[in-house]
Symmetry: C2
Subunit: 370 residues, 2 copies
C-alpha cells in the first residue's frame, strides 16, 4: 500500500524518513518503493545537501498553480493535497496515512474519493533500530551516565544539616541540581527538551512530579534524565534513586524489590518473548517482595520504546500485544510509590539482541549516599 | 462550540492551554467555558502543582473501565474518546477540533455519530499575545542579541588569509560559530531546537541552507538564530547579514534594498493594516531598488507569527488574509537571493501596538565587518 505523510520534521516519522530538519510541512510519498518529498522550492537546496539521498526532492510550486484553480473555500494545503494525489495516481488506491495526518486535509481528500487507511504505527520499521541508531542511543546514555556520576558526587560532597542538605554552604535544591545537570550534558550535546525529574520526599512518590524546592535528607531522591542529542535527535532515558543519609527499613526493602524486579525483567528479555511477559516477570518479583502492583505500589508499566521519541513502540505494559525482536530498544524501569514512604524507580535501557539483550546503561544502582 | 483536543504538550496548542509539559497524550475539553484535562492518574499530582489552575484535572482511569467494555478492534485511545464524548454529552453537538486531532480517533468518533468541525486555527486567541507572552519573547530576543554581538566580535577579531577567515589561528567555520552561539545562549536558557543558520557564499543564496564548512571572506554571511527558552518554551527569531572584508557593489545595493524594505514594512505596520499590505510595502521597496520579487530575488514572504511555535499565525505573505491587531507578534524579514551574488536577509521581531508597533530586536543592521 502506498504511504503518504504531511508534516514537518518535528514529527518523528518525518524526521526518520528524511534524516534532516525541515521547518515547514511537506508531503512524503512512498509509491511502489519510490520515495518522494514534495517541498517548498526554498528547501530543495538544503534538502539535497542534508537529506537521505534515496528520497527524491520535488518542488511544490508547480502543484500550487493547479491548486489555485480549485474552487471552494478549502485552505491551500487541502487543495495542494488534492493535486498531489491526482498527479501521483493515489485517488483510486488505498493509501496508508499516519494518525498525525492533518484532519482537514484527510477530510478534503476523502470528500474527493481518496481511501485513506489510518495506521496506528505508520512506520513499523522504527521499532527495529539499525546499528547507527543503536550507536546514537548508546552514545547518549554514555553521556547521561556522566550526569548521574555528577549527581552522586554532589550528594557525596554535601552535608546534612537538620532537615536540609547543604552543598558548598548553600541548601541543595532540585532547581540547582537540574541546572548543573543541564550544564554537564550541554557540553556533551544533550538538551533537556522534555523536562527532567529530580524530586525528593513526597514529590518522589508522584512519578511524574518534576521536582522543585529543597532536596530532603533521609528520603528518596528520584533522578530521571531523558535528554535528546541535538545533532542526531535520539533520546536517552535513565533513572536512579538515592537517599542522602539514612533510609528507612521500608525504603531499603522497596529499593531491593525494584532492583530484583529489574533483574527479573532482564532475565525474561529475549527475542520471541512477549513484551507483556517481561512486564509480568517484573510484577511477579514486586509481589514476591511483598509490595503491590496496580492501583498502588508498582503503578506504571515496565517501560517503553526509545528512539527519536521518548515514548515509542514497543511498550512493555500489562496490555502490550507485541513480541520482542532483535533491534528493539526499550526502557526497563520498575518503580514503587507510597505517599508515606516516597518513591523508588530504577531505569536502564536495553537493546534486544539475537541471544538475549544488551544493557546500554551499565551503571551502579546503589541507594545510599553517605 | 465546544473545543476538544487530544495530544501531548509537544503540541503548542496543548502547552498553551495547560502551561506545563505533559509527556503523554491527554484529552482537553472546553464545554461552555469550563476547561477540563482528562489525563493519566500518574500525572494528576504534577498537573495540579504546575498547570493552569483554571483547568480541572480529571483522572483517565475510570473511563478506561468503560472503554474496555467496547467491542471491536479499535485501539485504546479511540475507545477512550468514545467514552469521553458520551460522558460529556458531546456526541450530539458540533465540536471544534484542531487539524492535529488524531485521524484514527476522529474516524472512530465520527463513525459513532460525532460531528467534528476541523479548525484550521484551533486557538485563534494565540495570535494575540498577552503581556506575559510579550515579556517572554522580549527576554528571548534580548538574549539572542547577545549572540549577534558575539558573532560580530568574532568576525571583527578575525583576519582574512586569502580565501579563508582565520580566528585565533584556526579557519573560521559554520560549525565553530554555531557551537559558540549555542554555548553563549545556553547560559541564557535558550536551546537550538530547530537548527540555526550560519551560512556564507553560495550557501547563503539558499535561504534555508543551515550552513557548513568554511565561512568565506568577501561574501555574505547570513546568521539566522531562532532559539527556544527552555523554561517558558517561547521562541525568538532574528537574522543579520555580514560581510567580512569587502562587499561587492551588488551586495551593498542588495543590503541597502533589504534595509529599506524592512523600513517600508515597519512604516506600514499598524492595527487595521492587512498583513498582505505590509508584505506589499516591503516588495514595493525591493522593486524600487531595482531588484526582483517572486521567482527570484525576494523569493519568500515578509514574515510569520512567533510564539510557542517558530512559525504561527498571523503570517505576512502575498496570500495573507489577516488584519493586524494589537498583540500580534510577527517577524519582519525581507531578503534577496541571487546564486551569483549570495543572500541578504535582515529579520526583526515586532509587536503590533495600539499606536503602531514596537521593535523587540533593536540591534544594528551593519553589513561590513572590517
Amino acid at each position: 500500500m502506498p504511504r503518504v505523510h504531511l508534516a514537518n520534521t518535528e514529527n518523528a516519522d518525518m524526521y526518520y524518513l528524511i534524516g534532516t530538519r525541515i521547518p515547514d510541512p511537506f508531503f512524503f510519498l512512498e509509491v511502489e518503493g519510490k520515495r518522494t518529498a514534495i517541498l517548498n522550492a526554498l528547501e530543495i537546496g538544503a534538502f539535497k545537501e542534508h537529506a537521505d539521498p534515496s528520497v527524491d526532492a520535488v518542488p511544490l510550486e508547480p502543484f500550487l498553480t493547479d491548486a489555485r484553480m480549485i474552487g471552494g473555500t478549502q485552505n491551500r494545503l487541502c487543495k495542494l493535497a488534492l493535486v498531489v494525489f491526482e498527479k501521483y495516481g493515489l485517488m483510486k488506491k488505498e493509501v496508508a496515512v499516519p494518525r498525525a495526518f492533518p484532519l482537514d486535509v484527510a477530510d478534503a481528500l476523502r470528500e474527493a474519493g481518496a481511501r485513506l487507511i489510518v495506521q496506528h504505527l505508520f512506520l513499523p520499521e522504527r521499532r527495529i533500530k539499525t546499528k547507527t541508531e543503536i550507536g546514537y542511543i548508546r552514545e547518549n546514555l554514555e553521556s547521561t551516565k556522566v550526569a548521574f556520576s555528577y549527581i552522586e558526587e554532589t550528594l557525596r560532597n554535601s552535608e546534612i544539616d537538620g532537615s536540609r542538605i547543604m552543598h558548598r554552604g548553600k541548601e541543595l535544591t532540585s532547581e540547582f541540581l537540574k541546572e548543573e545537570v543541564e550544564k554537564v550534558l550541554f557540553d556533551l550535546k544533550l538538551d533537556d527538551v522534555e523536562g527532567m525529574i529530580i524530586s525528593s520526599g513526597a514529590q518522589a512518590a508522584m512519578p511524574h512530579h518534576k521536582g522543585k524546592g529543597a532536596i530532603l535528607p533521609n528520603t528518596t531522591i528520584i533522578c530521571d534524565i531523558f535528554f535528546r542529542n541535538r545533532r542526531n535527535q535520539y533520546f536517552g532515558d535513565m533513572t536512579r534513586t538515592y537517599v542522602k543519609g539514612m533510609a528507612s527499613e521500608t525504603v531499603m526493602r522497596m529499593h531491593a524489590a525494584v532492583s530484583r524486579a529489574q533483574d527479573a525483567a532482564f532475565a525474561a528479555l529475549k527475542p520471541g518473548a512477549s513484551a507483556k511477559s517481561v512486564f509480568e516477570a517484573s510484577a511477579h518479583a514486586i509481589r514476591e517482595a511483598g509490595f503491590d502492583v496496580g492501583e498502588k505500589g508498582y503503578i506504571h508499566s515496565l517501560g517503553h520504546g526509545l528512539g527519536l521519541e521518548l515514548h515509542e513502540a514497543p511498550n512493555a505494559s500489562p496490555h502490550s500485544t507485541e513480541t520482542l525482536v532483535p533491534g528493539n530498544v526499550i526502557t526497563v524501569e520498575p518503580g514503587l510509590y507510597y505517599p508515606q514512604d516516597g518513591g523508588v524507580r530504577i531505569e536502564d535501557v536495553v537493546v534486544v539482541t539475537e541471544r538475549g539483550y544488551e544493557n546500554l546503561t551499565d551503571h551502579p544502582r546503589d541507594l545510599i549516599i553517605p
